[in-house]
Symmetry: C2
DNA sequence: AATCTGTTTTTAATGTAAAAAAAACAGCGC
DNA sequence: GCGCTGTTTTTTTTACATTAAAAACAGATT
C-alpha cells in the first residue's frame, strides 16, 4: 500500500557510508545515522536490522550495556538495491511521463485518461492524479473537470512562452544580484562558478557532459537573489524541463555546451562590471541562444535515447 | 464515495431554465438540456427523474411514440437544493481553506497536517491532499515530503512578491494589447468595460459592490492578449487571492473602489492613446495603489466577516 | 542532564473500492 | 440518415484501508 523507497534509498546510502570503514569498527549512533541519511530514526533502525540480516553489521552483546553495533563485513556491489527501486512512486511517474513526452508518445492536443496511464505506468490512479497536477503547473497539461487531461504539447509556442517569462525574470534577478556586496554568499558562488567554467573549458573534450549542472548553478544563484517565491518557483519549472531535454537531445552536444560556456563567461564578466547595460545585452544574448537550442530540439523531436553520431543533425 | 454535487448544481440550474415556462409546455430533448446545462446526458436523465419525483415534470404517455416530457408545475423557491451542497468537495476545501487563512486561523510558519484538516473540514485526506497542492502553487504553502505542510502566511512579503511579478506581467501585457487593431475583440471589450465604469460611477453609492467583477474583466482582458500560458495562469492566482480578500475586507470599501475606478479610467485613456510612456505611468500608479490596499488589508488582518461601520478602520 | 536504544503512537503515501458522471452503444420513429 | 430515448460500459471523483515513515515517549547508562 505504500512503497518502501525511503528505506531502500537509505539502505544504499548507508552502504556508501560504511564502505570506507574497517571491518569491526563501531557504528555511529542511530540518531547520528538518521541525521547523516536525512531520515527518521525509525527508518535507520529498519536499515540496521536489514544490514544485520545481510551480515554487514553485527551486534556485540556486551553484558549489561546497550548492544553496540559493529561492522561485520565490508559491503560489496551486490548488496545494493537496484536504482530503479529507489524512486518514490510519485517521482517515478514524473520521470516516465516526461520520457513519454520527449519520445513523442503523446501528441499535442491528445486527451489522456488517468485509468489508462495508471495501467501503463503500473501504479494506481491516485498517484497518477496527484502527479499529473504538477504538469498542469508546467503548462504542459490542462485539466478538464470530470473529464480527461489535455496534453498541450512540447511545442514551439511552449518554448517561446517559457522563454519570454524567463527573460523577464532573469533580467529582474540581475538587478537584485548586482546590489549585493562583493563578499556576499551569492557573489562567492559566482566566482567559484566562473572558475569551474574555465576548468571545464580546459577539458571540454571529456568533461562537456557536466555542463548542465554548472548551467543550473549559475542561473539558480542569480534567480535566488530575488527572494521572490514566484520567480524561484518558475526557475524550478525551467530547471526540470531542461533536466529532461538535456538528457534526450544529444545532437551537437559538445558544440552547444562550448558556446553556452563562452556566453556564460561573457555574462559573468558583465555581472562583475555591474554595468546594467552590458548585463542586459549579455544576458539576452545567452537566453536567445538557449531559446533557439530548445526550439531546435523541439522541431527535431521526438527525441531519441540513442546518441546520434556527430554530424547527424538535420 | 463520490458526492453528487454536479447533479445538484444541474438540478438547480434546470429549475432556473424551467421557471420561465408555462405549465404543460413540452421540455427540450435530453441532448439539448445536456448542452444547456453543460453536463452529460446521464446527469440530465438523473435530474429529469428527480424532477419527475418532485412532480415538476410529467411524462405524457403517448401511445406508440416516445414518452415526451412536459412541465407539471412551476418550480418554487423550496424546490432548490441549498447552495452549500452545490460546491464540489474540492472547491469547498479551497473555499474553507482560504476563509481560515483570511480569518487568521493559521499563523505564518505553522505546520498543517492533512489528517487534522480532513477532520476539521469534514472530508477525506485524499481530497485535502489534492487541493492543498493548489495552494503550493499560490506560494502560500510549502510541502515537506513525508511530513506536514508549512503555511507560509499571507504576509507583506507575499503581497510584495506577487505584486512585483504582477507589475512585470501587466506591463508586458499592455505591449501586446496596444498592438492589436481597434476593431479586435479585446479592444471592443475594453470600450465596453470603460462604459461600464462610467455607469458604475454614476451610481456609486449603491453599485460599488460590483466593482471587483469589473476589475477582474479589465485586467484579464489585458493579460489574455499575451497568449502566454504562464502569464495567464499567474493572473488566475491573483484573481483568486483577490476574490477572497475583496470578500473579507470591507473597510472603506466604497472609497477604495471609487479611487480604483478613477485610476482605471486614466489607465484606459492611456491605453487608447497607445502612448507607451503614459500607459506605463498609469498602470504603475494603479498597481501601486492596489498593492498598498492589499498590504493594508494584511496588516489590519485577521479579516472579519462583519462589515465594520464607516470610519472604524484603524 | 545528556545521550543512547527500545517501544508506542501518529501521520503521510499509496493502493483499492464504490458511487457519480461521462461516453459509447443500440434500437426506434421519422 | 438523423435525432431521440433506453441501456451498458468506462472513467473520474472520492472515501477508506493498509503499510512505511516520522514523531513522541520511556527506560537505561554514562
Amino acid at each position: 500500500m505504500k512503497g518502501n523507497t525511503v528505506f531502500k534509498r537509505s539502505y544504499n546510502r548507508a552502504l556508501d557510508l560504511l564502505a570506507g570503514r574497517e571491518a569491526g569498527a563501531a557504528l555511529p549512533s542511530e540518531s547520528d545515522l538518521a541525521q547523516a541519511l536525512d531520515v527518521s530514526r525509525t527508518t535507520v533502525r529498519a536499515v540496521l536490522a536489514a544490514l544485520g540480516e545481510a551480515g554487514i553489521v553485527a551486534r556485540a552483546e556486551e553484558d549489561g550495556g546497550p548492544a553496540r553495533r559493529r561492522l561485520g563485513r565490508r559491503p560489496g556491489p551486490g548488496d545494493y538495491f537496484p536504482d530503479t527501486q529507489t524512486l518514490s512512486a510519485g517521482a517515478a511517474v514524473e520521470r516516465r511521463f516526461m520520457e513519454w513526452i520527449l519520445q513523442g508518445d503523446f501528441r499535442a492536443g491528445q486527451l489522456l485518461n488517468a485509468a489508462e496511464l495508471a495501467r501503463q505506468f503500473g501504479t494506481s490512479t491516485t498517484t497518477i492524479r496527484e502527479h499529473l497536477a504538477q504538469f498542469q503547473h508546467f503548462g504542459l497539461l490542462e485539466r478538464r473537470p470530470n473529464s480527461a487531461w489535455l496534453f498541450k504539447g512540447l511545442t514551439p509556442e511552449f518554448a517561446n512562452e517559457i522563454y519570454d517569462v524567463r527573460e523577464m525574470f532573469e533580467l529582474r534577478a540581475t538587478r537584485s544580484f548586482v546590489e549585493l556586496p562583493e563578499e556576499s554568499e551569492p557573489w562567492c558562488e559566482l566566482l567559484a562558478i566562473e572558475a569551474e567554467h574555465h576548468a571545464l573549458l580546459a577539458n571540454i573534450d571529456t568533461e562537456y557532459p557536466s555542463f548542465p549542472q554548472l548551467d543550473e548553478r549559475l542561473h539558480r544563484v542569480i534567480h535566488e537573489t530575488t527572494d521572490n517565491r514566484f520567480i524561484i518557483d518558475f526557475y524550478d519549472i525551467i530547471s526540470t524541463i531542461f533536466h529532461y531535454t538535456y538528457q534526450w537531445n544529444k545532437v551537437d552536444e559538445k558544440q552547444r555546451n562550448t558556446t553556452a560556456l563562452m556566453e556564460h563567461l561573457d555574462y559573468i564578466e558583465a555581472l562583475r562590471s555591474r554595468d546594467q547595460r552590458a548585463i542586459d545585452t549579455r544576458c539576452r544574448k545567452h537566453l536567445r541562444t538557449a531559446r533557439a537550442t530548445l526550439l531546435r530540439s523541439i522541431a527535431d523531436g521526438p527525441f531519441s535515447l540513442d546518441t546520434l553520431p556527430p554530424g547527424a543533425a538535420s
